[in-house]
Symmetry: C2
């Protein structure tokens, strides 16, 4: 890593010029740094004359989250770029194009998505995305199927999994999602009104047992090359296009983890709804859309995954009648359990979501957290015996129906 | 690999002399090649004057099994040596000492166990080993616990798992154990009297479904650093000592696979018994000892694993009440299923066991195969719902009770 140094704007422009066949040799380039500075620098380099631009993302050797700072491997930039390359090859229209990169400098050069909105912000702003469920269900199904033992050579998969050993980033997940919320951990981060709820989480042995089982799955099950952090902040959208970014948490893990991440973040927005509109009709309409989208994400995933399996499965034994159904049931149960863990950690753990934390009305914000925890606990506790995504929708609707008159 | 060449006797002597502080500088060394030549060369280098000796094991770049030959990575020698080093550190009295080695030459230099017997041959010769269950139960529990997420740093475990990515050797297991016996595969190898039984295996969808689930576990569950080939031919014994050798199939896999391998090979010897004695009392006594040993292997494993977990567990969530019981139940079920697969493949698959194939009486040999298949199918089909090792013992006894008057 001798040549590593955080890029200046000038460095970014110089590097952008070195990308073959992109900018004209005599182009006058502009550059701005548009990242949040917590884990990465993000430079947008543009030729305004030709209306061409690209993104240079550079990993920083540390993470900053809510004031905390800890060292983080720069190798995650390589992992992210290699994951993006695989995902782009498999789903070219759902992943930005990669133009280049450098492991020592920990940078990736990629397509600029300036016309897109971060989905979390789009949801907060009241937009709906009617192609999202189909897009993300297809993205998850395709990228996970073709990197699993079901869809790729099983010896090549082993070698590929070695390239995606990702201890630093996995540890963040292991700590923040599968441990800290269930004990009085220093890293937890919640408002005092939520302390009684947090303390209930710490005492709930039935919940801990399910979390321990889910944690074990995250630690041991190398089913497919996960995105690893597929929340609505890792997804760019327009009304008719979806692009998945930021797979720096990529590693070989359980398939349900990626689907669970998407569903959890839709549920967090669901829980946040009363904070965003006093109009009951709008509220109900948005909640109905969110629940339909949750169902759609699972159904599009399942439909695509089964179709790929039937048409392109490489494993003779996986064609055994009945096996695919058992497999999909297990993925559904994992999905629900992981979704529950990801909801809970966004309320009491270190890292929150803007959907809830930016609600202005204090009572509404409190209620959103209570609703989210109610849904999250239900998902974790019931996931292992669930048999349909409809159950998730019922539990979420039931939690919403419990919301007090104060909302 | 430029310096790789298969060792001559002279090469082995020269290399042995280079091992520091072993042979005297002026020692006159003898050397013999004692391997079976199928996968490895095995040299015994000795100083008869001083009564000192060591073993040099060198991997060959191919495997020969029953006339078949295919290329095989020499990297397995490194994997084997590194696994032996870890296992010896954890269980020094149950694993030969390692004196040195060379990755390019694909050799490992280790303790000579000339005073020991290969356990499979010892069992065929009618010996019993009353410390075996305790020894092997402790070996499996200790080596697997301390290489799992329960007993070692979870980030170090990820890095360690990358060093034990072992595609070539895993493929042998995937093909010969989890696929070929369940279809009319070229690699299958059975006598014509067993063809009706083999054809039943190919048609048995209930069986295939369980095998598909077990195959998935072998492909995806990186629970601990397995030995990977823990049959009675990989175990040296005396009346009071046990040494585990040959972990060239080592990789991160499901814990039940190693335990299942031991139990399967005891069951194969159990099925073979009527071929070795006409004396009914001796037959019953040996079968009783074998079934007790099977129970003992599991019970010693479970006792040691739980004790290590309680005393040295590194994972806070794994201390959740009830989790350890669920974990052990899953390991038991996996163990039984894997044991069944390993019994079945030794009857119809490429590679057999001498316990059965060297039975002279043709009827007895046939009956032993039928009994083994009966037990194996039962284990595979019932493993997923089993709750006690006693069930395995009952199924084996029931299969033996069905043996015809011709035995």
């Amino acid at each position: 890593m001798s040549s590593y140094h955080p890029f200046s704007l000038e460095d970014a422009i110089a590097y952008a010029k070195s990308i073959p066949d992109f900018f004209a040799a005599d182009a006058v380039l502009t550059c701005e740094e548009i990242g949040d500075g917590n884990l990465n620098l993000v430079f947008r380099v543009a030729d305004p004359q030709q209306n061409k631009s690209l993104i240079i993302k550079q990993a920083l050797p540390y993470a900053k989250v809510v004031g905390e700072s800890w060292p983080l491997s720069l190798d995650r930039a390589r992992i992210e770029r290699e994951a993006l390359e695989i995902q782009h090859r498999l789903c070219p229209e759902l992943v930005p194009a990669i133009y280049g990169g450098d492991n020592e400098l920990a940078i990736t050069v990629m397509e600029d998505l300036s016309g897109y909105t971060i989905m979390r912000q789009g949801l907060i702003d009241g937009h709906t995305y009617d192609h999202f469920a189909e897009h993300i269900g297809r993205f998850i199904a395709t990228t996970l199927f073709y990197t699993s033992d079901l869809g790729m050579n099983q010896q090549d998969k082993k070698l590929q999994s070695a390239r995606f050993i990702n201890p630093d980033l996995c540890k963040i997940t292991e700590d923040l999602i599968f441990e800290d919320p269930y004990r009085d951990a220093d890293n937890n981060n919640f408002t005092e009104d939520i302390r009684p709820e947090a303390e209930k989480l710490w005492q709930d042995n039935e919940l801990h047992l399910e979390v321990a089982l889910l944690r074990e799955k995250f630690l041991t099950r190398g089913e497919a090359l996960l995105h690893g952090d597929l929340h609505t902040g890792s997804i760019f959208v327009t009304s008719d296009s979806t692009k998945v970014i930021d797979p720096e948490f990529a590693y070989y893990g359980p398939i349900g983890f990626d689907i669970g991440a998407v569903i959890a973040n839709l549920l967090l927005n669901f829980a946040a709804q009363p904070g965003w509109s006093d109009n009951d009709a709008i509220l109900q309409e948005r909640r109905t859309w969110l629940l339909a989208t949750i169902g759609g994400v699972w159904n599009h995933f399942e439909h695509n995954f089964r179709k790929l399996w039937d048409a392109h499965g490489v494993d003779i034994m996986s064609k055994t009648p009945g096996y695919q159904d058992l497999y999909m049931e297990k993925v559904l149960q994992d999905t629900i359990g992981f979704a529950g863990c990801k909801v809970i950690r966004r309320i009491v753990g270190l890292s929150h979501v803007a959907d809830i934390d930016t609600i202005k009305n204090e009572l509404h914000r409190h209620q959103a957290k209570v609703t989210a925890l109610d849904i999250g606990k239900q998902l974790v506790k019931q996931g292992r015996s669930a048999s349909s995504i409809a159950e998730v929708i019922e539990w979420a609707a039931a939690a919403a129906a419990k919301e007090g008159a104060n909302v």
